[in-house]
C-alpha cells in the first residue's frame, strides 16, 4: 500500500489485537468492565436505599437530593478528585459512574414500588403474605418494568460516559479519541464512536429483551 496513511480497515486489522496494552480488543474489554460494574453495582446499592426510602418516606428527599447533587457534578473533576484516593485505576471511573447509576435507580426503585396498586398490596396482606415475601413475590416483580426502564437509561449513559475517563488515562474505547487529538488521524475516532454506540445498543437491546421475558404481563396492558 505504499507510504500513504492506512485505510480504516487496514488500521483496524493492524490494531485489533496487538497483544499489547492499548489494542482495540483490550480497550473494548476495559470499556465493558468500567461500564458494566457501575450498572450492576448501582442496582445492588440502589435497591436497599430505594426500599429504605419507601419504608421511611422522610429518607427519600435527602437521599435523592444528595445523589442529584452528585449527578450534577461534572464527571471530569470528579475523576480528578478521586485520583488522590484510588489512583490511576479503573476504580476512579467506576466509583463516580456507580453514583450516577444510583442517582437514576433510587428514584426508579421508589417509583416502581409506588406503582404497585393499593388494592393489590392490600390483597397481598390479606392473603397472608409476610412482609418479606410480599416484597419479593409481589412488590418487586410489579416494580420491575419501572426499574428496568431506569436501568436502560443507566446502561446507555454509563457506556457513553466511560470515554471521559480517557482524560485520566482510563477511558476504555475513549482512549482512541485522545490519540486522535494528538495526531489528527480519523480511523481510531470512527472505530471508537461506532463501538461505543454498538455497545450501548446491544446493552439496551438485552435489557429490553430481559424486560419482555421477565414481565410478559406488561405487554398490551396499555390497551386494557
Amino acid at each position: 500500500m505504499g507510504d500513504g496513511p492506512p485505510t480504516l480497515w487496514e488500521w483496524i486489522a493492524r490494531n485489533w489485537d496487538t497483544g499489547r496494552v492499548g489494542s482495540i480488543r483490550d480497550l473494548l474489554g476495559d470499556h465493558l468492565l468500567m461500564s458494566l460494574v457501575p450498572i450492576v453495582l448501582g442496582l445492588v446499592l440502589a435497591l436497599p436505599l430505594g426500599l429504605a426510602s419507601v419504608r421511611w418516606r422522610w429518607l427519600y428527599q435527602p437521599t435523592a437530593g444528595v445523589f442529584n447533587v452528585i449527578y450534577a457534578l461534572p464527571s471530569l473533576p470528579l475523576f480528578m478528585l478521586l485520583i488522590s484516593v484510588t489512583g490511576l485505576s479503573p476504580m476512579t471511573v467506576i466509583i463516580p459512574l456507580t453514583f450516577y447509576a444510583m442517582a437514576v435507580l433510587i428514584p426508579a426503585v421508589v417509583d416502581g414500588i409506588g406503582s404497585v396498586p393499593a388494592h393489590v398490596r392490600q390483597s397481598a396482606v390479606a392473603m397472608g403474605f409476610t412482609p418479606l415475601r410480599r416484597l419479593v413475590q409481589v412488590e418487586l416483580p410489579i416494580a420491575a418494568p419501572v426499574v428496568i426502564a431506569g436501568l436502560r437509561v443507566v446502561a446507555v449513559s454509563s457506556i457513553s460516559l466511560v470515554s471521559v475517563g480517557a482524560l485520566i488515562g482510563q477511558g476504555g474505547l475513549g482512549m482512541l479519541f485522545t490519540r486522535a487529538y494528538q495526531n489528527p488521524f480519523l480511523p481510531p475516532v470512527v472505530v471508537g464512536i461506532v463501538l461505543i454506540v454498538v455497545l450501548a445498543l446491544v446493552a439496551d437491546g438485552l435489557l429490553l429483551l430481559a424486560q419482555r421475558l421477565l414481565t410478559p404481563w406488561v405487554r398490551a396492558r396499555g390497551a386494557s
Partner: protein, 302 residues
Amino acid sequence: MDRLSLEAPTGEITVFVGPSGCGKTTSLRMINRMIDATEGRILLDGEPVQNIDPPTLRRGIGYVIQQAGLFPHRKILDNVATVPYLLGWDRGKARDRAMELLERVGLDPALAGRYPFQLSGGQQQRVGVARALAADPPVLLMDEPFSAVDPVVRTSLQDELLRLQAELNKTIVFVTHDIDEAIKLGDRVAVLRVGGKLAQLADPKTLLSEPADDFVREFLGRDRGIRRLQFVSTEGLRLRTDLPAPEGAGTYLHGKDSLRTALDAALLSPTGSAVAVDERGEVVGVATREALDEALAEAAHG
C-alpha cells in the same frame, strides 16, 4: 368503632351495611387484623384473633375486595393458587385445586393461563372469589366485592355467591353500602351508623318490617313495603285453573318465587293477572288481581 358487639354465626352470611364512614370496612379488617382493635376482643372459633400471628390468621380467612386485587404479574391459575402456595402446598396440588375452583365459580378453564388484565371486571371478581376459597377457609371476608361491576354482572355474581354458599356453608362477613344487596345476600344484616355504632342487627325480613329507628327506616328507603314482599311466599296464593293463560302475561315460579315477583309479573301483564308455572315451565294456574289482593292483605297483617 364504638362498642360494636355482634356474632357472625357459623355457616351464615352476615352483612355489614351502612353509609360511608360508618366503619364497616374497618370492622371487617379488624377480623383479620389488617387493622388492630385498640380495645375489645374479636373471637374466631372462641380464640381471640389478637393471639394469632397475622399471616397465619389471614391464610385461614378468605378475603375478597372491590377491585378484586388480583396480582397483575401472575397468571389467573397462580393467582387462585396464592394461599395454597403460601401454605406450602405442593405446586401441582395447588394448581389442581385452583383449576377446580375456577370451574366452581363458573369460569372457563381456558382463562387459567391468562393474565388479569385480559379479563373483564366480572371475570376478575370471580377469580377473586376463587382465590379467596382456594385453601378452603371456613371464614370469608368480602369488602364491597361487587360494587365496581355493572348491575347485570353484579346480579349474576350475587346469585353465584348464593349458589356457592348453598354448597359450601362458609361463615361469611360481607360489607356493602347497598341495602338491596344486603337484603338479598344476608342471613343477618347489621346496619351501622356513622361512628361505628350498631343501629340494628336482624334478619332481612325483620329489618324491613320492624326497623329499629328512624335512621334504619330512612336507610332502608321508601319502597320498604314492596321489598318486604320478596320474603313472602307464593305458596298460599290462590290460583284459578279455569281461566286460560292470557297471551303475553308475565310468569312466576309458583311456590319458589316471592310474592314480589308474582306482583311484578301481574303488573307487567296486559290482563293484570300473573301466570303461575312450575319448574318445568308448565302453566299451573293464573293468579288474578283478586288473589294477589288477598295475598297482599294477608302479608300486610301477618
